[in-house]
């Protein structure tokens, strides 16, 4: 049933990506039209607006959730594709372990980056 669990989370991660990417498009690429996430003068993706979003708690949390969902969805998909190559059971275990390490590493690095930026810009007021 482990595969059922992974597959279910794979699909749920896809759903999360769909919603959060929708939010990303609304804020970053259609901010000029929607006004969502644009608090400073100028373009929605300029430095001032990006820093203002980083200074809030909402956007960093969204970034971290999106990062987790995208990493899990992408790496699980890659694992499925690699398994299609007819790998031996031992190699499959090694690939799973490697992808897990890569995923956790990237998630840790990304989360650190997001909250480091948050701490930097929130402190500036």
């Amino acid at each position: 049933m482990r595969e059922t669990k992974l597959w279910t989370w794979f699909m749920l991660a896809g759903l999360v990506i769909l919603i959060l990417l929708g939010l990303h498009m609304t804020v970053a690429h259609m901010g000029g039209l929607t006004g969502v996430g644009v608090t400073k003068a100028g373009d929605s993706v300029n430095e001032a607006n990006s820093q203002a979003r980083d200074a809030t708690l909402f956007y960093p949390v969204v970034y971290v959730i999106l990062l987790a969902a995208a990493l899990f969805h992408g790496l699980y998909g890659l694992r499925v594709i690699l398994f299609e190559l007819g790998l031996s059971s031992t190699t499959q275990k090694a690939v799973s372990a490697l992808l897990l390490i890569v995923g956790v590493g990237l998630f840790g690095f990304g989360t650190w980056g997001v909250f480091a930026a948050h701490a930097l810009y929130a402190g500036r007021g």
Partner: protein, 279 residues
Amino acid sequence: MWENIDKVQEVRFHVSRYSPERDSKPYVQVFPVPVREGMTVLEGLHYIKENLDSSLVWRYSCRMGVCGSCGMLLNGRPTLACNTQILDIAKTDLTVAPLPNFDVMRDLVPDLATMFKKHIANKPFIVRQDDAEQNDPSGEYFQTPEQLEEYLQFSYCIKCGCCMAACPTLATDSEYLGPMPLTQGYRYSADTRDGAKKDRMKVSGTGHGAFRCHYAGECSRACPKGVDPAKAIQHLKRQLVLDYLHLAKQRKPCAKQHGPGKGTRDPKIPDAPAKTVGV
């Protein structure tokens, strides 16, 4: 019988030959076969065995698309030899090979044991939780036409192995359960008389189970009985996910309707006509 053959044209049968005691690998032997309209590939193979090479081996039984014994690869397509007319698929040359994704026992005979091992693992039978009832059913079980419709098409499977031969996933992962066993697992889990869905899910939810299917759909295209295994596997995936999320409708095996001879007849049904034999 072949003297009176109303010859229309000659078709060359390129038949895959292999004898494990004699050959290191399969090779192709060509046989010219006089073909008349309506002649099946199975009849063509019989012609070769009776007139050209009596050592040719293949498996068959019913000759009418019911038993599923004569599944083979005809011009690259897995199908039943008895159900395929030669002139429908070939004008001058026809390749005949054993079903791929199986070991070959000899010539055109695939070793279906691996398929049936996976089939049995999926408990392809109705399971009642009550042992006494399981071994000696004491009555009929109520099932509506709508409930029957849930699994009916999947029960038309004749276990010929054509879907397994067409499956690209099975070609890369020999441990993959494959379309037939998964479909039959779903067929019984969808049956309201059954109570072993959880047991089957433990098998179909593994790494080599339903989630290895990428919905290529070749199994459904290949099935000579019109069964749609790809659809069954998608239903199975939904069942597995909903069950994991605890969103699946909990179902108990349907109740027994009545014991033998204890039912009441619908008054609208007229009496049977009087006996005319053995009076």
